[in-house]
């Protein structure tokens, strides 16, 4: 061993001489794998020198791993886009069930309000004024109103727009619809209205058709439509002409209905009791007294029955005020029948974009926390790995 210090050159030469070179076998195997694009190989499997090419599955895996990050993200992007498109389609389809009409336009529900908070008893008291009942308007029908279909139509079928959870509740529904058309089309529109009402077993309480010029010609209809068919009937009515305005109201009349029914039951029970008293009466005076009470009770029974019937009619039939107008009143965009116009298309496009933006926003709101968590975990792992590696060299 030399006791003299090595020069830099000598040291460099000696160190270069200590440089390890790969064995020919390893170099050849690695070259082969490099040529094959480094097919997949699990750690701990056979040494590199015995794996010249890899299997088919490994090649597929390696091909995927070999993709650039952008191309790797492509499936995820396609998946996310598919989800967004599907969600948009579902939302639109759901809305479309409510709003689409035959002409391709959308039926707008404007000014719909659930007015269940209104005082039900007062409404019950004025049952004959707001909507009336078929029985009450029967004389009118004989004199001036048209009635289409049987007076006692089949029980209303719960419609698609019956809110869940209110099956056993008595809901009174009403609607106002204004259609716009040309003066020379008023008669035709009125005829179509009658046709639609016939299809839905509607009852025309009153109707009037006015001839004249623009702004003067028009028609008005006061009709009853089975509540379960109101939505479909309004859709068809809206398709007849341009919808100028439309509104629907609902009123919960369950409380007065139940109350009236209970009173009727009590009155009937009272009448039965009086009949038993009458049978047991032994003197003429007793019998006369019981009969007088019985008359009063029967009168009350009739009144309560009538009240229950009125409320049932109000729940079973929706009152619709329909007006056909002429003139240049603005049409509700996207509403009404007729042909599908550029305006309708723009409106639909706007809705599609709005829904898509909403869906994207919701998706983003869901993805953001996950992305933050994932990013934090990834960064933490990187920091940990870096420190752990450096510690390896510090030992």
């Amino acid at each position: 061993m030399s006791r003299e210090e090595m020069t830099i050159e000598e040291l460099t030469t000696e160190l270069h001489a200590l440089r390890e070179l790969p064995s020919e076998e390893f170099a050849a195997a690695l070259d082969s794998r490099a040529a094959a694009g480094f097919p997949g190989r699990r750690r701990g499997s056979a040494p590199i020198t015995s794996l010249p090419g890899g299997d088919a599955a490994g090649r597929v895996a390696a091909r995927f791993r070999g993709l650039s990050p952008r191309r790797k993200l492509l499936p995820a992007l396609v998946g996310a886009t598919t989800v967004i498109v599907a969600a948009t389609a579902i939302v639109l389809a759901t809305n479309g069930d409510k709003g689409a009409n035959g002409g391709g336009g959308q039926q707008s529900t404007i000014g719909v309000s659930s007015d269940a908070a209104k005082a039900a008893p007062s409404q019950a008291g004025g049952a004959g004024t707001a909507g009336g009942s078929p029985r009450e308007v029967a004389p009118q029908a004989a004199t001036g109103t048209q009635s289409i279909g049987p007076l006692a139509p089949e029980p209303p079928v719960p419609g698609p727009d019956t809110a869940p959870g209110i099956r056993n509740r008595q809901i009174e529904r009403s609607a106002n619809l204004t259609l716009g058309t040309d003066p020379d089309q008023v008669q035709a529109v009125a005829g179509k209205v009658i046709d639609v009402l016939g299809r839905y077993r509607g009852i025309v309480l009153s109707s009037s058709v006015r001839e004249g010029g623009e702004g003067e010609a028009g028609a008005t209809f006061e009709v009853l439509i089975p509540s379960g068919r109101l939505g479909a009937a309004l859709t068809d009515l809206s398709a007849i002409a341009d919808v100028r305005s439309r509104s629907e109201d609902t009123l919960d009349i369950t409380a007065p209905f139940v109350s009236s029914r209970e009173r009727l039951r009590d009155a009937r029970a009272e009448a039965e009791g009086l009949l038993r008293q009458l049978a047991a009466a032994s003197t003429d005076g007793e019998r006369a007294s019981v009969k007088a009470q019985l008359r009063i009770v029967r009168g009350r029974i009739a009144a309560f029955r009538s009240q229950v019937n009125r409320l049932e009619r109000r729940a079973n039939f929706a009152h619709v005020s329909l007006e056909v107008v002429t003139g240049n009143t603005a049409t509700i965009p996207g509403a009404g029948g007729g042909d599908w116009t550029i305006g309708d298309a723009l409106h639909d496009a706007g809705r599609v974009l709005a829904v898509a933006a909403g869906v994207a926003l919701v998706a983003l709101a869901m993805a953001l926390p996950l992305a933050l968590l994932g990013g934090g975990a990834w960064a933490s792992r990187r920091i940990y790995l870096r420190r752990a590696r450096e510690q390896t060299l510090s030992a």
Partner: protein, 185 residues
């Protein structure tokens, strides 16, 4: 400072790979990088691990990782060679960590056969002294020697791999060389 890809030789057989119809530029660049760095990466890893078998495994793993990540390479952040050695360094350090954990589990020292056993047999006393001096270096210092003298990295490339400044890398190298010269006195 760019280092000419001249140290690795005899790797022309790599070109027998079936040429793709439209090879991406990244693939071509990677192929060039592989051809120029294969032996250097192996020499560096072997110098760090001091185990031929493990060095082969880690070298292959490093190139596989680099191949998978070749699309992420950004030339603005450093040379491709520095990038590759960064990957190789991580792979080598991961292997060291794994061995250490294994050694702790086994309660036996890891098999760290000196890579220069052959050299010891054929070399003279001076070389034997140098090998002993190398073995006495700290792992971090031994890594510097492997980068500079086995892999042939420039100071700038070493700095890029270690994440330090070039002057800092030069200073560290100088200290290691001084230490080796003193040890070999």
């Amino acid at each position: 400072m760019k280092r000419p890809f001249a140290r690795s030789e005899d790797v022309d057989q790599t070109l027998v790979a079936p040429a793709r119809e439209t090879p991406a530029e990244a693939d071509l660049a990677f192929e060039r990088l592989y051809r120029s760095s294969r032996d250097d990466v192996y020499a560096y890893v072997a110098g760090v691990l001091r185990d031929r078998s493990a060095a082969e495994e880690v070298t292959a793993a490093a190139f596989e990782r680099a191949f998978r990540k070749r699309g992420r390479f950004d030339a603005r952040r450093g040379s491709a060679r520095a990038w590759l050695f960064g990957i190789a360094r991580n792979a080598a350090l991961d292997e060291l960590r794994r061995r250490r954990r294994q050694a702790e589990l086994d309660s036996e020292p890891a098999d760290v056969a000196a890579p220069a056993t052959d050299a010891l047999a054929e070399g003279g006393a001076r070389r034997a002294t140098l090998i002993a001096a190398l073995a006495g270096l700290e792992p971090r210092e031994r890594e510097l020697v492997a980068m500079k003298f086995f892999a042939g990295l420039s100071n700038a490339e070493i700095a890029a791999v270690l994440g330090v400044s070039e002057s800092n890398a030069g200073t560290k190298l100088h200290r290691v060389i001084t230490k080796l010269r003193e040890a070999c006195r």
